[in-house]
Amino acid sequence: MRERQAVRHRRRAREFEAFVAGAAGRLLHAATLLTAEPPDDNARARQLLTAALARTYADWERLRGEDPYDHTRQELAARFARTTWRYHQHGRLCSPHHREPVAGGGGGLLERLTPQERLVLVLRLYEGVAEEQTAAQLGLPAERVRAICTRATAAMRSTPPAPAAEVTAP
């Protein structure tokens, strides 16, 4: 019994390591986009991703065919939404149109957007999650997700960041 458990444990650790090696880069980029931190100073994104990956590790045996990547992304999005809700309650991100960096942010690509807009933009455009799925995950109606996505897209295009200056309106 103990022997079998040890074998299972080792196999899980091996599979998880392979998964992280393949997926961590993309997931960390997504997390850094969400937190709007600069790529070389993304402590909160790393923290979020570590927590989400820990959940995936714990649920590994129960995934049974579900994609661990999807599982981690869902956990990441949920965690981000939860912690951001905490910020909300402290009254820091109340205005839907605040255009200030958040909690030590500065230099992140999406820092001009609200957390909700970032979440929708990252899930819809970066991760390519379907509109209905995004809506279900965030607990919003699909039309609302589409509206937020359109608004965020417009906001991103109206003030392109310095490195992407070649992207100009037609």
Binding site: E17, G25, P39, T56, Y57, C149, A152, T153, M156
Partner: protein
């Protein structure tokens, strides 16, 4: 391609910027934390089963001692007649 699609493609390209470097200890730290979470879950499950078992044993012993299904003997004496 419609106009909104083209706009979204533009933003999509912006999002596909350079990826941040992944710290080497991120995976191991996550695995360690996950293992801790798992141990805690197993412990909680064991505790639940233990409590359930204890409750069943307690109930059984109580039922055997009290035998609540046996009607208690009547405490009212029959009326005295023809004495």
């Amino acid at each position: 391609m419609s106009l909104p699609d083209r706009k979204q493609d533009e933003v999509r390209r912006m999002l596909e910027g350079p990826h941040p470097p992944v710290p080497a200890d991120l995976g191991p730290r996550a695995a360690e934390r996950g293992a801790r979470l798992l141990r805690r879950r197993v412990l909680a499950r064991r505790l639940m089963w233990l409590l359930l078992g204890l409750a069943v044993v307690t109930f059984t012993v109580w039922a055997l001692v009290e035998q609540p299904w046996v009607a208690p003997p009547s405490e009212v004496a029959p009326p005295l007649e023809a004495w």
